[in-house]
C-alpha cells in the first residue's frame, strides 16, 4: 500500500523541501496534470520539456557526424566517429519512437470530437495509450539514456551504525535500525549479515554495529542512508513520559568483492602499508593455551585508518572482515575524492552525502501523553501520529511501523534514488 505524503506539488526536478503533509502520489499527480489540460496544451507542454531540446540536439549531432564519415572508412578519425555514432544510436531510436508517437497523437486529436460515439470512445482510448507512451519516453527512456550508467552499481554495501546522543535509548534504536536494514535487504533480494556489533552491557541495545549488505546495486540504493538518524519517543524506561531525542550516525561504505586477499594485489593499498596487530597477550601460545583470542586490528599507515574486528571465533575470519572494512573505507575516500574533483571542473548539482547532516526523524506516537497534551496535539495536528520524515525529500511516511519492518523503507530509498537521478539528469542538461 502506498502511503505517500508530499509537500511539493511538482514531482521533479526540484527538491521537495517542507515536511508538511500532502496526500497524493507523485505519479498520479503527474499524469493528472497532462490529462486535465486541453489536448493541444498537453502536447505543447511536452514539447517545451528541456530534455527534448537536448535529445534533439544530440540526434542532429548524430546526423551531422554521419555526413562527416567517409563512405569507404578511409579517414583516420572514422573509427572514433563511428563509435560516437553508435553510442548515439539508442537515443536516435527513442527519438524516432517519440516523433512517430507524437504524430499519431496529433492524428487522433480531431477524432476526439467525432460525431460517432463509438469512434470517439476508440479515439479516447487510443489517445490515452499514446499519451502514456510519450510520458514514459519522457520520464524514463530519455533520462536513462542520457544519465551515465552508475559505475558503482556492482558494489555491495557496508552499513556502519554508531549510537550518538541519547545513551541507552540511542543503542536500543540502533538495534532496531539494524533489524530494519536487515529486513529491507531481504525484501530487496540482498543478503544482510551483522558483521560486527557491540552489545550494550546487559541490555538489548547495541553501541555500534556493522552490517554487510551483499547484492547488486546495494551500495547505490543505500548510500543516501549516510547521515544522522534521529528518533523522538518516550523511552520504555522513562517513568514520567517525557519525549527523548536520540540519534544514530550511519555511514554507508562501498564494498567491493574480495579479490584474492592473500595475493595482496589491491589498487587501494599495498600490503606493506598495513600494520596487522592481534589483540592481547597469549603467553606462551600454541598448545599451552586454548582460549579463543581472535581479535585483530589493522592500521592503514598512510591514512591512520584503523579497523578492529573481534566478532568471529576465527582470527582468520576476523582478519578477512577487517580487510573488507578497510577496503570499503578506502574505496569510500576514493569515491569522495573523485566527486570533489568532478565538482571542481564543472558545475555539479549532484549532492554527495553529508555525514553530519540530520537526514531523517522517526517519530513515535506518544500513547502515554498526559490528556492535556493530547488535547493540544490534536489541535496542532502533530505529535500524535507515528511517522518518518526524510528531511532531504520533505517526505513524511505515516506508516512508521512499516518502515521499521523494512517494507516502508523501500519507498524512501526509491524516492532518494529518484532524486539523485533527477539531479544527475539536470546536470547533464545544463552542461
Amino acid at each position: 500500500m502506498r502511503n505517500f505524503c508530499r509537500s511539493c506539488t511538482q514531482s521533479r526536478p526540484q527538491l521537495l523541501s517542507s515536511p508538511l503533509v500532502f496526500r497524493s502520489s507523485p505519479y498520479l499527480f503527474f499524469k493528472a496534470r497532462y490529462l486535465s489540460s486541453t489536448q493541444n496544451n498537453a502536447l505543447s507542454r511536452f514539447d517545451g520539456a528541456p530534455i527534448l531540446k537536448y535529445v534533439r540536439q544530440k540526434v542532429e549531432e548524430r546526423s551531422k557526424l554521419l555526413s562527416l564519415i567517409s563512405d569507404d572508412f578511409s579517414n583516420a578519425e572514422d573509427v572514433s566517429l563511428a563509435k560516437r555514432i553508435k553510442d548515439l544510436e539508442p537515443l536516435e531510436t527513442a527519438w524516432k519512437e517519440w516523433s512517430n508517437t507524437r504524430k499519431s497523437l496529433q492524428e487522433t486529436l480531431p477524432l476526439l470530437d467525432d460525431a460517432d460515439p463509438a469512434m470517439r470512445a476508440l479515439a479516447v482510448e487510443e489517445h490515452a495509450s499514446l499519451l502514456e507512451t510519450l510520458t514514459n519516453l519522457l520520464d524514463s527512456t530519455f533520462p536513462t539514456l542520457l544519465v551515465p550508467a552508475s559505475d558503482t552499481a556492482h558494489l555491495s554495501a557496508l552499513v556502519e551504525l554508531k549510537a550518538g546522543v541519547g545513551g541507552s535509548e540511542a543503542s536500543l534504536f540502533l538495534a532496531e535500525l539494524v533489524r530494519m536494514y536487515t529486513r529491507a535487504a531481504n525484501t530487496l533480494g540482498w543478503r544482510a549479515t551483522t558483521m560486527s556489533s557491540n552489545m550494550l552491557e546487559g541490555g538489548n541495545g547495541m553501541k555500534d554495529a556493522i552490517l554487510e549488505v551483499k547484492g547488486d546495486k546495494a551500495y547505490d540504493a543505500l548510500r543516501w542512508e549516510s547521515g544522522i538518524h534521529r528518533v523522538q519517543r518516550v523511552p520504555a524506561t522513562e517513568a514520567n513520559g517525557r519525549v527523548h531525542t536520540s540519534t544514530v550516525a550511519i555511514v554507508v561504505l562501498p564494498l567491493s568483492e574480495e579479490n584474492d586477499s592473500h595475493a595482496g594485489k589491491d589498487e587501494l593499498f599495498s600490503p606493506d602499508e598495513i600494520k596487522i596487530e592481534v589483540m592481547r597477550a597469549r603467553g606462551a601460545g600454541g598448545q599451552h593455551v586454548n582460549k579463543t583470542e581472535s581479535a585483530v586490528r589493522l592500521t592503514h599507515l598512510p591514512t591512520g585508518i584503523t579497523v578492529s574486528m573481534q566478532d568471529e571465533r576465527s582470527q582468520h575470519q576476523n582478519r578477512r572482515r577487517a580487510f573488507q572494512v578497510l577496503r570499503a573505507r578506502l574505496m569510500d575516500r576514493k569515491l569522495s575524492r573523485e566527486v570533489m574533483e568532478r565538482r571542481a571542473v564543472r558545475r555539479n548539482l549532484v549532492r554527495s552525502a553529508d555525514r553530519s547532516e540530520k537526514i531523517r526523524t522517526y517519530n513515535y506516537a506518544q500513547a502515554s501523553l498526559p490528556p492535556m497534551l493530547i488535547f493540544y496535539s490534536v489541535i496542532a495536528h502533530t505529535k500524535l501520529q507515528d511517522r518518518v520524515t526524510d528531511h532531504r525529500l520533505g517526505l513524511s511516511l505515516m506508516n512508521l511501523m512499516s518502515v521499521m519492518e523494512g517494507d516502508g523503507l523501500q519507498e524512501i530509498l526509491q524516492a532518494l534514488e529518484e532524486r539523485y537521478r533527477n539531479e544527475s539528469l539536470e546536470e547533464v542538461l545544463t552542461q
Binding site: 596487522i276 592481534v278 601460545g285 598448545q287 593455551v289 582460549k291 579463543t292 583470542e293 568471529e312 582468520h316
Partner: protein
C-alpha cells in the same frame, strides 16, 4: 528479558573468570550456536544455552562445548580429548599453502604426523587446487584418527579408508585426498606397519612440545580436557625440554636408507615458545635439513621451523 537467577549468576561467574569483554563474545557465540548449530546434531548434540554456560563456567574449553573450531575457511569438529586446533597453527598452515604450487599434473604428497583433528592436512587439502595434493595423517590415538576421518567428510575432502594412494594413481584423482591412519611414530617400523608410501614431498607436524615440568602449570581448560599425549613433549625422564618428538622426527628424516622425504622436500614443524633455535639445530645436525627458516606467529613468537631435506 531478565534471565533466571542461576543463569545470571553463571554469567557473572564467566565474566569473572575470562573478563567482561571475552565473556560478552563467548555468550554471543553460545547463543549463535544454539540458534544455528555449527555441527549437525548427529555429530555433536547441541546443549542448551544454560548447559553451555554451566560447562564453560566449570572450565571446559568453549570449543568442546560448541563442538567446532573455525580453521581458516574450514569449520572443524572438535571432540574431547583431541587437541583443539590453535590459531597459531591456522596461521602457518595458510602461509605454507601459499608457498606450495602443486597442480593436478604435478601433484604432491603430504605426510602429517601427530595429525590430531586432521586440521593441518585438511586445510592444505582445502586450499590447494583440486587433485593436486594427497595427504596422509598419522596419530597414535584412536579418538584422533576417528575425528580426523569425520572432519575430512565434514569438510568435503575425499577420505580414503583403504590406505594411502600410490603415487602412480595420483592422476586418477580429480579431488585432493586425505588418509588418516592409526600408527605410533615411536615404533621404528611404523612406516612399514602403517603401509606408508614414502618418499613424500611435504612433511608437517604439530607434535606435542610442552615440557613435562610445565604441564602442571597449564590452564585447567587445557590440562583437564585435552589429551596429554597431544601436549607433553617429553617421553622419558631424561630430557625435559619437550623436544623428544623433534629428535624422533629428525631421526626419521635423517635415515637415508629409507628416505621419508624426497630430496629438497619441505619439512614444517610447529614448536613451543623458545624451542625454535634448538629444533632448527636438531634438524640441521641430525637430519641435514637445509635452508632452514623460522616463522613467527601473529603474536610474534617463533612458532615454526621450516626447511628442506638434503638428497
Amino acid at each position: 528479558m531478565i534471565p533466571a537467577p542461576s543463569t545470571r549468576q553463571l554469567v557473572v561467574a564467566l565474566k569473572r573468570s575470562v573478563g567482561a569483554r571475552a565473556a560478552e563474545l563467548e555468550l554471543k557465540w553460545m547463543r549463535q550456536a544454539v540458534e544455528q548449530p555449527p555441527i549437525p546434531a548427529s555429530l555433536h548434540p547441541t546443549p542448551t544455552f544454560e548447559e553451555m554456560l554451566a560447562r564453560r563456567v566449570a572450565g571446559e574449553p568453549l570449543q568442546y562445548i560448541l563442538g567446532s573450531q573455525p580453521f581458516g575457511p574450514l569449520d572443524l569438529i572438535v571432540r574431547p580429548p583431541v587437541l583443539i586446533p590453535r590459531p597459531e597453527t591456522e596461521d602457518w598452515t595458510i602461509r605454507l599453502s601459499e608457498r606450495l604450487r602443486p597442480t593436478k599434473s604435478k601433484p604432491i604428497s603430504i605426510l602429517d604426523l601427530c595429525t590430531g583433528s586432521g586440521c593441518i592436512a585438511l586445510l592444505l587439502c582445502h586450499l590447494l587446487p583440486p587433485g593436486s595434493a594427497h595427504a596422509t595423517g598419522i596419530d597414535v590415538a584412536e579418538s584422533a584418527v576417528q575425528l580426523a576421518k569425520d572432519n575430512g567428510a565434514f569438510c568435503g575432502i575425499t577420505v580414503l579408508d583403504n590406505g594411502p594412494p600410490l603415487c602412480a594413481d595420483f592422476p586418477k584423482w580429480d579431488s585432493n585426498t586425505f588418509t588418516p591412519l592409526l600408527a605410533n611414530i615411536r615404533d621404528p617400523a611404523f612406516v612399514i606397519a602403517a603401509n606408508l608410501r614414502p618418499p613424500y614431498d611435504i612433511l608437517t607436524a604439530n607434535p606435542p612440545y610442552i615440557p613435562k615440568s610445565q604441564y602442571d602449570t597449564l590452564p585447567g581448560s587445557v590440562k583437564d580436557y585435552e589429551d596429554p599425549r597431544a601436549l607433553i613433549g617429553d617421553l622419558d625422564s631424561g630430557s625435559a625440554q619437550g623436544l623428544s618428538f623433534y629428535h624422533m622426527i629428525a631421526a626419521l628424516v635423517g635415515d637415508k636408507s629409507r628416505p621419508i622425504l624426497k630430496s629438497d622436500g619441505i619439512i614444517a614443524l610447529e614448536v613451543g615458545d623458545g624451542q625454535a633455535q634448538e629444533v632448527a639445530r636438531i634438524l640441521h645436525e641430525q637430519a641435514q635439513v637445509h635452508h632452514i627458516e623460522i616463522w613467527r606467529d601473529p603474536w610474534d613468537k617463533e612458532r615454526v621451523v621450516v626447511g628442506r631435506s638434503s638428497p
